[in-house]
Symmetry: C2
Subunit: 336 residues, 2 copies
DNA sequence: TTGTAAGCGTTATCAC
DNA sequence: GTGATAACGCTTACAA
């Protein structure tokens, strides 16, 4: 098996090794008889080219990278990443690319991973998620001209290839819906404060308040880490306000569900006393009680477009347009 | 950047390229002065070796593979795979390996992926999950002597490296618990019938019935695909039996929750009329109502051990023992 | 149209 | 100890 290389095929087919390579590349210049002779031997021996050698020679690994900045625990119940990964893998496969997934939490390991993946040329390009306002990774990758696509937003928006939800619009829509249903004290629970998505949705929320002439009240804003303790405690804080909220818009379904559970634990009736809306429209929404109203953000769509863009970049084509927006929609259920 | 190779470092440090390689490999034979000179240049230019060249030369890619046989939709809410992937990535990183994730559903793409991943030597080894009774992949990989570790069970058990829950024992424990709490018609909803895990847990279930002198009733056994329609309809069938079940043991939490939801929809009270137990102890369990009793199967543990074993195999050591069992425990909540 | 040969950037085996 | 040099298995000018 280790001996099965092109020279061996060439020897058996009575041609040169270069011809074997040409046949396998589908070079139209090769004579039909030779092609068949070579292919016959290839078939018979089940020869497949060595990806390592191809990578070195062609300077392409046909591997895309995805780095996730979360601990395994924080990933566990989260449907965002499983859908994301599965969809990227599937889409990449259509172009004969594979996906290399890494996780990095600390700044140190993050740096190490980026070094490792791109300077070593282990992957041909990177898909980034969960960007922050001044994102070192993005600055670095742009500077070095490395192919990457951001799922999210980064200023200036047209400088880098990115795919995103209309997060501001989506949060506006959800908040507007809450206010129209008669809610007056709508709280917002974001994820970590640095994340662009946390900020964008906060902005949409603010605009909706504004459009209804409701004053912004900073005490109604909370930020949670991606673990259930933090999510619940954000809700506890909100509930202990002198005038607690009568609705909550949460950054994702997991946060919404944790918060809702905490509210129920404290005797609040949902949606009568307090309404909840999450993001992602994950399967979870249907299972909780009351079922969770959620903004569906089309993760597969996001993943597919990002992958397509990255493949284009990697193969030297310029993706058009550089920034793509995937619409979101509100899926109404019992919680709001 | 593309020009940054060992020859360049060598030129600047005034040594031979071979010496640069030695310094980077930590070869103790090199003179201290030279080592420092080389390292200084390496530091300054931020040189990192090219993984592609290393792969070709060393015949190692430092990439492990994981192939998942599920559609993206079926992965979406499932905490099993996100935890699995994240933990493998983390553990692999400790040995400086990366993870390549692929998904394959059809037999054709499955075959293609195995070809692609291993014959091409794109990865150094594979972690398999969701094995079936006569698994082509396993037969093939064993035959070709390719390094792989199974998360699951395969006969003969000591022929291949595997890590597994004690599924028979765990299902026994859960079923036994249901019977001891007074349940007499315990149903079992598995996943696809071919999966080893589906069969193993069914066996544990049967043994528990036996130990209590309860007759096995085949009409209480259902198999579901990993999509919510199939999960719910399995439950509908069970509920329309002349004597419906008063308890359900499900293959995983998602199935349990879908089934429980269906039962509630049909007016059954949980756990009064019917009890539910799932598997995996996913975050979901706490969020549903009533909260779901579940068998915690220590996915991180499974993933870590599998990764360790695979690294050993890949690096030519024989993992000991070849088969490892990770214990499971019952996490009692409201549903049973 | 096919063969020869020069790399791709490392690692490792030789001599020196 | 260190420096040439030969692989690793492939792609692709260039030569024939």
């Amino acid at each position: 098996m280790a001996e099965l290389k092109q020279v061996e095929i060439a020897r058996l087919a009575g041609v040169s090794q270069a011809t074997v390579s040409r046949v396998l590349k589908g070079d139209p210049q090769v004579n039909e008889a030779m092609r068949e002779r070579v292919l016959a031997v290839v078939q018979e021996l089940g020869y497949v080219p060595d990806a390592r050698a191809q990578s070195l020679r062609s300077q392409r690994t046909r591997l895309l990278g995805l780095v996730i900045h979360r601990a395994p625990e924080a990933l566990a119940g989260d449907p965002f990443f499983s859908t994301l990964i599965a969809t990227i893998v599937e889409q990449a496969a259509k172009h004969e690319y594979h996906l290399c997934v890494d996780t990095a939490r600390t700044a140190r390991t993050q740096r190490a991973i980026y070094e490792e993946l791109l300077r070593t040329r282990r992957v041909d390009g990177l898909i980034l998620v969960e960007s922050e306002s001044h994102d070192k990774r993005i600055e670095r990758l742009s500077r070095e001209g490395f192919p990457f696509v951001l799922i999210g937003r980064y200023e200036p928006e047209d400088a880098i290839a990115s795919v995103d939800n209309d997060n501001i619009g989506a949060a506006f829509m959800a908040t507007d819906y809450l206010i129209r249903s008669g809610r007056r004290r709508v709280a917002y629970i974001g994820g970590p404060a640095g994340l662009t998505v946390t900020r964008d949705r906060l902005q949409g929320y603010k605009r909706a308040l504004e459009s209804h002439g409701i004053d912004y009240d900073a005490s109604l804003i909370a930020f949670a880490e991606f673990n259930s303790r933090s999510m619940a405690s954000a809700m506890t804080d909100l509930l202990s306000l002198p005038t607690p909220p009568d609705a909550v818009l949460a950054l994702d379904d997991l946060i919404a569900v944790s918060a809702m559970r905490e509210a129920k634990r404290q005797g609040r009736r949902v949606p009568d006393d307090i309404a909840f809306i999450g993001f992602n429209d994950s399967p979870l929404c249907q299972y909780v009680e009351p079922s969770l109203t959620s903004v569906a953000v089309e993760i597969p769509q996001l993943a597919r477009r990002a992958t397509e863009m990255l493949v284009e970049l990697v193969e030297g084509r310029a993706p058009m347009p550089k920034r793509q927006i995937v619409p979101a929609r509100l899926v109404k259920r019992e919680s709001a």
